[in-house]
């Protein structure tokens, strides 16, 4: 139910409300969180950014849900990438060694191949995802939002008692 609420909110946000920049920033943050293993320091920091800054939460949660599901499939790739970065580039060894000996850095578990691989992937993909999502929101709002609203299936869903009930709940629980 919690997730359903966010999905509805996300579709609403696509259409109206927050600016495309806020929606895509929330989405990108959620994408980065979902891509990385959960119990790490930088993951926690991204959570704080998502919760505290004025970005679209629903987009963040939806992105997080989607990428978490997909990330499992990419774990072997993350492992290979992480191993390459940590062990196969001699020039970086000193840097990793220095990080390893710093007090806070080991809490990020950067020395784990999957953590490093997913973190690097998230860093690389963050800006393209942000830009792509922003463009998508603008295009959706300009060209598809009205068409989608007029679709019979959408209207049928909106007219259903289930949707009304969800909507009521959403209004009650809105922050």
């Amino acid at each position: 139910m919690f997730w359903l609420n966010f999905i509805i909110k996300f579709f609403k946000a696509l259409r109206t409300g927050d600016s495309p920049g806020q929606v895509s920033a929330g989405f990108s943050l959620g994408f980065a969180i979902g891509l990385m293993p959960f119990f790490t320091l930088h993951s926690l920091l991204l959570w704080l950014v998502l919760l505290l800054f004025n970005v679209n939460l629903a987009a963040g949660f939806v992105a997080m849900m989607l990428t978490s599901l997909l990330a499992v499939l990419f774990d072997p790739f993350f492992h290979d990438l992480g191993f390459f970065l940590l062990a196969q580039i001699p020039g970086l060894h000193n840097f990793w060694e220095m990080l390893y000996n710093l007090p806070i850095a080991p809490l990020t578990k950067f020395y784990n191949t999957v953590v490093m691989g997913s973190m690097a992937s998230a860093l690389v993909l963050f800006v393209p995802v942000y830009l792509a999502m922003k463009k998508l929101v603008i295009i959706y709002r300009d060209k598809f939002a009205e068409h989608v609203q007029k679709l019979k299936i959408v209207q049928a869903v909106k007219a259903s008692s289930f949707y009304r009930w969800i909507d009521k709940l959403q209004r009650l629980g809105d922050i």
Partner: protein, 631 residues
């Protein structure tokens, strides 16, 4: 900035903090108890344990560690303890305590509840290895000490079981040899029968006799006869080669049997030594006296020192178990691989840099001993910490009676090197029980003394050395002995006021040494040897004769069988060989006659041919002359 989210997060943080404040201590207390139980193998109970997150202070009001062997008593009980965790190592999940003060440490205090845990660990596991070998070697050494008791000596000598014929190795060896010689006889007889040497020689003899040489003048016939003789000669030589082979094989068997016989004779010597050892009739050595007198109490105390060393050695790996229980759960997703880099900081998983001890031992109603000292560098990863664990303890039993213990547990490398030094001065040794031996004292008491014990344990080898002296020594006897040995021992020991002891137990490369020397040794050995020497010598001779007599029958039988057998077959083979030689000689004679005759006949024929040739030449010349004559 989303203000509502900030408020929500703060509310969540406060709520978590309050929950943690009320629940964490109990949780940590139980965790610490479980870890302690893994190490000690008995119930561990912390009372009012706490951890303050703001200044990282920890402590407890009371700690009880139950004794594994006596679960209704505490091995250790401490009062209040406070210590601080170092902040920086926590970032790497390392627990390091700078200084831990353990005050009011007591041992042997009574418990209200049974402190035993369900038995899961093999108690004897730690006792195995080098120490177990040393123990059994010590036991064997003590059992090999001579018996200084004539009645026992006579009894032992009279017991037939001591020289049981069926247990003497030499008799078995002789009998086995006789059996083998019998088999050899059967096999060789069969072999010689099968070869039918006599028949074959007889046939050849007949063949040689049948060759007639007197009337033959014709060279062609002579040549034929010579060929016949050469054939017989070949057969004779083949036969002789077979006989030589059999002879060589027989000599091999004889040599082997002689070796077995010599071996059986060596077994006899070994039997004599073994039986003497069983009767414990070895010569009295100076080194035996110390063991006979003080072996038992020394070994008892050395064993308890070894037990403590084993216990202390067990601590190092056992601490690893403590953290094994707290391993993080594996991540749900594909776990990846941790790449560990060089870590400059010397932070082991668990380290107490310094423990300050202040303790009183002894059960509630007994006089207490005061212990104070320090333990430095107590860790489960000494190699990471880079310094060995050091103990320094001082035990005051009274104002003057002071024991000081130092120990270094060096587990930095692959081979552990542990050392202990225990020194005591102005001690009141009191009374010690000695092993009950006939003619020897059963107790020793001294009014004052001092000692120094050093122990070095490197890998699987060990060396434990004790040097001590005691004043106003007195020996007590279970009963007054009237025999000469008992009287002599008492006389010598009564004259001793000051006793000095130098004892050692060592184990290196599978060799164990147990030695106890004292200032009594030489004097007592000399006196006892005078009494015992002749008697022991006589008894030893008696035993030797007895063993020799028991083994004599079998030995003699084996020797005779061996001689007879070899003689018989050698004779047989030599006989065959001789008859072959005779026939060969006869054959050679005939051959020589024929060869001479052949030469003579050939010459005769040549001469006749020459004459004939001359005559023919003359006739030809005459005819030619007649042909050219004028008519």
């Amino acid at each position: 900035m989303r203000k509502n989210a900030l408020v929500l997060l703060l509310t969540f943080a406060v709520f978590s903090g309050v929950l943690y404040y009320f629940a964490q201590n109990k949780y940590i207390e139980r965790l610490a108890e479980k870890s302690g139980e893994l190490f000690f193998g008995a119930r561990v109970e912390f009372d009012d344990m706490y951890i303050k997150l703001f200044n990282l202070q920890c402590g407890w009001r009371r700690l009880q560690v139950a004794d594994k062997i006596h679960p209704m008593k505490n091995l250790i009980e401490t009062g209040e303890a406070n210590f601080a965790l170092e902040f920086l190592p926590l970032f790497w999940g390392k627990i390091i305590i700078s200084e831990l003060k353990l005050l009011d440490v007591r041992s042997g205090t009574a418990r209200l509840k049974d402190g035993s845990l369900p038995q899961t660990v093999d108690d004897d596991a730690a006792q195995k290895g080098a120490f177990a070998k040393t123990k059994s070697a010590i036991k064997a050494r003590m059992e090999s000490l001579p018996a200084l008791d004539f009645s026992q000596l006579r009894q032992k000598l009279d017991i037939d079981s001591l020289v049981q014929a069926d247990k003497l190795q030499s008799i078995s060896a002789y009998e086995s040899l006789i059996g083998e010689l019998d088999s050899m006889r059967t096999a060789t007889t069969a072999q010689l029968n099968e070869r039918k040497y006599a028949d074959r020689v007889r046939t050849l003899k007949n063949e040689i006799a049948a060759v007639q040489i007197e009337k033959t003048r014709d060279p062609v016939k002579i040549k034929k006869t010579l060929q016949q003789l050469a054939k017989i000669k070949n057969t004779l030589e083949t036969l002789q080669a077979n006989v030589q082979n059999d002879k060589s094989s027989l000599m091999g068997l004889k040599l082997n049997a002689q070796k077995r016989y010599a071996n059986a004779q060596r077994q006899l010597q070994a039997d004599i030594v073994r039986v003497k050892k069983m009767a414990r009739l070895k010569e009295l050595e100076t080194t035996d006296i110390g063991l006979l007198l003080f072996g038992a109490p020394f070994i008892k105390n050395a064993k308890s020192v070894m037990r403590y060393i084993v216990l202390a050695r067990r601590y190092m790996p056992a601490a690893a178990i403590l953290f094994e229980a707290q391993k993080e759960p594996e991540p749900q997703r594909f776990a990846g691989q941790d790449i560990h880099f060089r870590f400059y900081r010397k932070f082991p998983n668990f380290l107490v840099r310094k423990i300050i001890l202040s303790a009183s031992t002894g059960a509630d109603n007994l006089p207490q001993q005061h212990i104070s000292g320090t333990i430095l560098g107590l860790t489960n990863e000494p190699a990471v910490f880079g310094r060995p664990t050091q103990f320094a303890l001082k035990i005051n039993k009274s104002m003057d009676e002071i024991f000081s213990l130092r120990a270094v547990f060096d587990h930095l490398g692959e081979i552990t090197a542990d050392s202990i030094w225990l020194e005591a001065s102005a001690v009141k040794p009191g009374t010690f029980s000695l092993q009950e031996r006939i003619n020897f004292p059963t107790k020793i008491s001294a009014k004052s003394g001092s000692f120094a014990l050093t122990g070095f344990f490197t890998g699987a080898s060990m060396k434990l050395n004790l040097q001590g002296q005691a004043q106003s020594v007195q020996f007590d006897y279970a009963e007054v002995k009237k025999n000469q040995i008992g009287k002599t021992i008492k006389e010598v020991l009564d004259g001793i006021q000051k006793l000095t002891i130098d004892a050692m137990i060592a184990e290196k490369g599978g060799t164990q040494v147990l030695r106890i020397n004292s200032n009594i040794d030489k004097a007592l050995t000399r006196r006892l040897r005078l009494i015992l020497g002749e008697k022991i010598k006589k008894a030893r001779q008696q035993l030797e004769n007895r063993v020799r007599k028991s083994a004599n029958n079998s030995g003699e039988k084996a020797r005779v069988t061996l001689d007879q057998l070899t003689l018989k077959f050698e004779h047989q083979i030599n006989e065959i060989n001789n008859s072959i030689e005779t026939q060969k000689k006869k054959l050679s004679e005939k051959e020589a006659v024929l060869k001479t005759r052949l030469a003579a006949e050939t010459a005769k024929m040549k001469r006749a041919a020459e004459q004939q040739k001359g005559q023919l030449e003359k006739e030809v010349k005459k005819k030619l002359k007649d042909l050219f004559k004028k008519p």
